[in-house]
């Protein structure tokens, strides 16, 4: 599995996994691995939506005039 760094990459990979599984292109041994990867990707996406990234926050406050609390 390639390292997923952006939300867009994660979404694309998820769509790809779904398409492959739906097409029956995944054998039973790979299925569990795919399911685990998909779960990780979904968590990654949900973290982007719902979890504060302190790194982003710190970076932005260093380049803006003022950061809202």
């Amino acid at each position: 599995m390639n390292k997923i760094e952006t939300y867009n990459d994660a979404i694309k990979r998820l769509e790809e996994i779904i398409a492959q599984v739906n097409a029956g292109a995944v054998d039973i041994d790979m299925l569990t691995a795919n399911l685990r990867e998909a779960q990780e990707l979904i968590n990654f996406c949900r973290n982007k939506l719902y979890k504060v990234d302190e790194e982003v926050k710190a970076l932005l406050s260093s380049i803006a005039d003022e950061t809202a609390e």
């Binding site: 939300y7 867009n8 979404i11 998820l14 769509e15 996994i17 779904i18 599984v21 739906n22 029956g24 995944v26 039973i28 299925l31 795919n34 399911l35 998909a38 979904i42 996406c45 949900r46 982007k48 939506l49 719902y50 979890k51 504060v52 990234d53 982003v56 926050k57 970076l59 932005l60 406050s61 380049i63 803006a64 005039d65 003022e66 950061t67 809202a68």
Partner: protein
């Protein structure tokens, strides 16, 4: 009066005053540009009206004017309500005036009425010219054509830090009911008056220094009462916004026609709160999509497992029949082999009447292998007998 006798200045001015009063008794409608507007504590308003040469922009006429407090207290709110603009420098106006001359203060216009429609028309004309120019230059839709980010979280807000609009915007984002994370950061700029254009352009430049750190730009201003918008109708500001490489959302807080900045922006919201709602909505759409992907993957996997289970069941179901068929085939083959073997067996040949002769337990294939006097055994299909060789003849003899 002796013509050589000099007049006092007062007398001369008095003649001018009398002449003007006699020859210009009416009220006149006059157009001009406000080059100075000064309100006094007592409520009067002193203005300077100018006319410029269309081509060179150089002044060709100028006059001072007065709007007395009792008139100005009516005209001021009327003008603001009609045009959305404060009665201020830079505006083209149509005024009804009487011409005054005072011995001490000189020539001045006494303003008694104003026609806001003229100012509105002039502003609309200027706006149209800006729009036409941006269209001709091919930039008017550039910002609209930018893709909107999937997650508009890192928000560069251009606003005045003291404006209520910025507070409303941040409050709305922070308290979104889904718990989405946003990172709104302020790039301060005046949002009212003559410094808006420069302030916003400078803020855009500061944002552009770290372009990849931002998802979207939001330009907001508190709504309040009817507010001046002409500062958002300038060519340079609109051009900068249109060509900015991040999508711009406006929430300038007004109910009137769009300003040129609204028109070139990626998305126009009516108020800061509406701009925040729009961003929350975009996030919500993504959240739903992630949920649907989660469903899809579950369905796909369970579908795939079902498929495999069905395949195994089919195999199990068909297995007994396959085995029976296989056995039958093998039995058939066996029977054929048996037949072949049987037909090749010496017993079968003996039954046909042939015999087999052995000497000392070895099969006699040629008379050369035996000699007279040898004891040989002859095997028939049923029983055998022993003989003594009395004579032999070889093939080559």
């Amino acid at each position: 009066m002796n013509e050589l006798e000099p007049l006092t200045l007062y007398s001369l001015n008095n003649i001018v005053r009398a002449t003007i009063n006699r020859d210009m008794p009416s009220r006149y409608w006059v157009t001009g540009e406000l080059s100075e507007v000064r309100e006094t504590a007592s409520g009067h308003c002193y203005i300077e009206l100018v006319q410029r040469d269309e081509a060179t922009r150089e002044l060709v006429a100028k006059a001072r004017g007065t709007i007395w407090a009792r008139t100005y207290s009516l005209l001021r709110p009327y003008f603001l309500e009609q045009t959305g603009e404060r009665f201020s420098v830079g505006l083209k106006v149509l005024l009804q005036v009487t011409v005054d001359f005072h011995e001490l203060y000189g020539f001045a216009l006494d303003v008694c009425d104003i026609e806001p429609a003229y100012t509105i028309g002039d502003m609309a004309r200027q706006k149209q010219q800006i729009i036409k120019r941006l269209t001709n230059e091919g930039v008017i839709d550039l910002n609209k054509e930018l893709p909107f980010p999937e997650l508009p979280q890192r928000i560069a807000v251009i606003s005045s830090s003291t404006a209520a609009g910025y507070g409303d915007f941040c409050h709305q984002l922070k308290n979104n009911p889904y718990g989405f994370v946003f990172y709104p950061s302020l790039f301060a700029s005046p949002m009212q008056g003559a410094k808006v254009e420069q302030g916003i352009i400078e803020a855009l430049n500061r944002i552009a220094e770290h372009l990849e750190q931002w998802d979207v730009v939001v330009i907001i201003r508190g709504g309040g009462a009817t507010s001046e918008l002409s500062c958002f109708d300038t060519y340079d500001l609109a051009n900068n916004c249109a060509q900015f490489p991040l999508p711009i959302i406006t929430g300038i807080g007004h109910q009137r026609d769009d300003t040129v900045v609204d028109m070139v922006a990626h998305t126009r919201a009516k108020t800061p709160t509406a701009a925040a709602e729009l961003l929350i909505h975009a996030m919500s759409a993504q959240a739903q999509y992630v949920d649907s992907l989660k469903n899809d993957i579950a369905l796909a996997v369970s579908g795939s497992v079902d498929n495999m289970r069905r395949n195994i069941q089919t195999i199990l179901h068909n297995l007994p029949m396959s085995v029976a068929l296989y056995l039958q085939q093998q039995q058939h083959k066996l029977a054929l082999w048996e037949n072949t073997v049987n037909s090749a067996s010496p017993r079968r040949i003996l039954e046909l009447g042939y015999t087999l002769t052995t000497c000392n337990g070895k099969v006699v294939r040629s008379s050369a292998n035996i000699a007279s006097g040898d004891v040989v055994v002859t095997h028939t299909a049923k029983g055998n007998f022993t003989s003594i060789v009395t004579d032999k003849k070889n093939d080559n003899e």
